[in-house]
Subunit: 454 residues, 2 copies
Amino acid sequence: MATKKMFLGEEFLPTRWYNLNADFPTPMPPPLHPGTGQPPGPEDFAPIFPMNLVEQEMTPDRWVDIPEEVLDIYRIWRPTPLYRADRLERALGAPVKIFFKNEGVSPAGSHKPNTAVAQAYYNKAFGVKRLVTETGAGQWGSALSFACQLFELECKVFMVRVSFEQKPYRRSMMATWGASCMPSPTDTTEAGRKILAADPDSPGSLGIAISEAVEEAVARDDARYSLGSVLNHVMLHQTVIGLEAKKQMEALGETPDVVVGCAGGGSNFAGLAFPFVADKVAGQQIQVIAAEPASCPTLTRGPYAYDFGDTNQTTPLLPMYTLGHDFVPAPIHAGGLRYHGMSPMVSHSVKTGLVEAQSYDQIRAFEAGVLFARTEGFISAPETCHAIAAVVQVARQAKEEGKERTILFNWSGHGLVDMAAYDAYLSGKLAPYQLPEEEIQRALAAIESLPKLG
Amino acid sequence: MATKKMFLGEEFLPTRWYNLNADFPTPMPPPLHPGTGQPPGPEDFAPIFPMNLVEQEMTPDRWVDIPEEVLDIYRIWRPTPLYRADRLERALGAPVKIFFKNEGVSPAGSHKPNTAVAQAYYNKAFGVKRLVTETGAGQWGSALSFACQLFELECKVFMVRVSFEQKPYRRSMMATWGASCMPSPTDTTEAGRKILAADPDSPGSLGIAISEAVEEAVARDDARYSLGSVLNHVMLHQTVIGLEAKKQMEALGETPDVVVGCAGGGSNFAGLAFPFVADKVAGQQIQVIAAEPASCPTLTRGPYAYDFGDTNQTTPLLPMYTLGHDFVPAPIHAGGLRYHGMSPMVSHSVKTGLVEAQSYDQIRAFEAGVLFARTEGFISAPETCHAIAAVVQVARQAKEEGKERTILFNWSGHGLVDMAAYDAYLSGKLAPYQLPEEEIQRALAAIESLPKLG
């Protein structure tokens, strides 16, 4: 039997990130300043992000060198192993080869540190002393806490109160890495106080937490804000996943026909997929699938439009698939997929036909996740289960059609800090959930007055 | 900068387990049948364990081939990476090199699957349909659930009730892998009913859970009992850790002066250390340290004596360091180290001077664990923190003495399912705890009437 796992050497670790913006057949529409209606300049971002990251956000360069200081920390867990899921293949009985990239081996247990480490490095290099961010379920907050600790930056995390109370383990991880984590809304910011005045028992929301984090970041010269998904520079940093996977697949003599990732804000999906999307742009036959939850079907049900990145309308207008910045997704267990919008780069890839989107109910996602745990052993994050559901569907279709397929998917993180979700599924407490049509229409009303996109 | 992490290939995966029993300079005393006072024969173990494992328990052979079916599952996560902890070295400022073996990459997050997979295989090969075990904190129960799922065996776990209620994540992991887990005491066994009759609210104990598991296992012809530590065959299976580490260290051109593991029942310690203890027997200078908790100081405070493996006196008498089978350790957070006895093989190694034992208060253990998380990134299991505390002490001593040292330790598992322990430590809720002398004396009274050992 061949080696199942590809624990590979230093030579598979990329030394450059890949920027799909250099290869889009038609360029992405720019973001817009909501006041002027014009594309914002670097100076508009200066109070929020350090200038070196703003440059990366806007760069047209195809390749960006990874600083040695970042590589040195990547080496803690990178290159990540590429696995052949042969037990899952046998269970499905389909004419497919299934490979997955295990991003769960990072200290924080997901792909998030790929950009957290880069962002901490660039902020440190720019002279920033303190990073402020928000987190929902806690995967991003814990990744940034880890990264800040290694670069000796202070880290402050506003965590949506309901998650703060329900997910004490994530909170303890942040504390272990020396970060300060507060349940949002707090009485330490104007945005928080406003909410608490209206509702002292507010459970919080990602939108409120973002507002608090940005307010605290811009209030201090030595502090900046950090975002774990959506933006171009985040997609850029995550491409280490796909670049590594490509080299590993090549070393195996394999080429994927289908590339799959789950998509909330888009970062783990883009990280694996964009280097393969580049091959598609160059003419290669390859199906690229973004799997999203049926409860927050941004790519499959939202319009492609200009919208704010946050509920409080403080960000530039981003060209993206969106359900409207007022949209509040149902409290499904895949917290990382509960975002009203989508990375503009991922959105443009879908709009131009390079990527296709599919949505999966959480019941189907956990069904696939349990099948994976019972064949491959590893317990997947609820987000990742959506990618596995897509893989299962591709395999079943291949079986029906009698067509051979080589599938590669991003196993974006383990679920060991999310076991309550499995408990709910296994005890029959999870119900299928389709977003009602009228709820989509109501949410979309919020963006009616904003500039339109083709 | 050199590669920090040794993600190595198939050639580092051992194909044989190593049996230190073949190399002890003086042979281990045998176990004794409590009724006859004679060593038990294989037939005495037959209702409890399958005969192929009983043979391994008693074998004098130096090497035992690892079956291909077991290797095939080991490949899911083995070889495990060997890391150089250079950030920890810099933080300690001592003239030491520190290497660690990362056993946390297994699906269950610890070293436990090394023997769980082997035991599931041998039981399956023997025709067993169902394995029964007990678990305290849940690390062993989840590892056996995982292994049984891959070999299509039924798995039933009696989990100490207080842990069942406090550690829902471990319970959910077992359910995800298809095992049935019940809070012990239950009303499904005689042993359980006896306890419940006396105390309907009994929080349970490992001793009670073992009695329930053995009772259920022996009641059915197609069922057997499985134990995750202490026994010779468990130590044997765990030696994959040390055999791999030796080859990896050799590939780096390094030889450890000091080898460290934490010790509860002894399995992760023996797994890393025994292949190096063999070198010590052959004349090599090497310090081997078993780190145990001050709250359950079996090796450092217990006598070397014959004692039962369980509270209810159902096992053979084992020659070991013990605090007496009545001893109930304080509810410290390192649940895996709360055992009154110690593997007879580890005990014999200590008795004959091949291994030295040191005990650490849990405060010092978590202090070391937090230092590790803040330098190396990974969050350690509370048990593993005790090994890190020993490493820190060796490094500080090396600094004082100005002596260079190469240290290798077993990072036996991650702590992501044990974050409540970090929370307690970081919020100042953990107190230092030394076991009172009178409590040791009281516990030892239970073994006064048992056969003595030199």
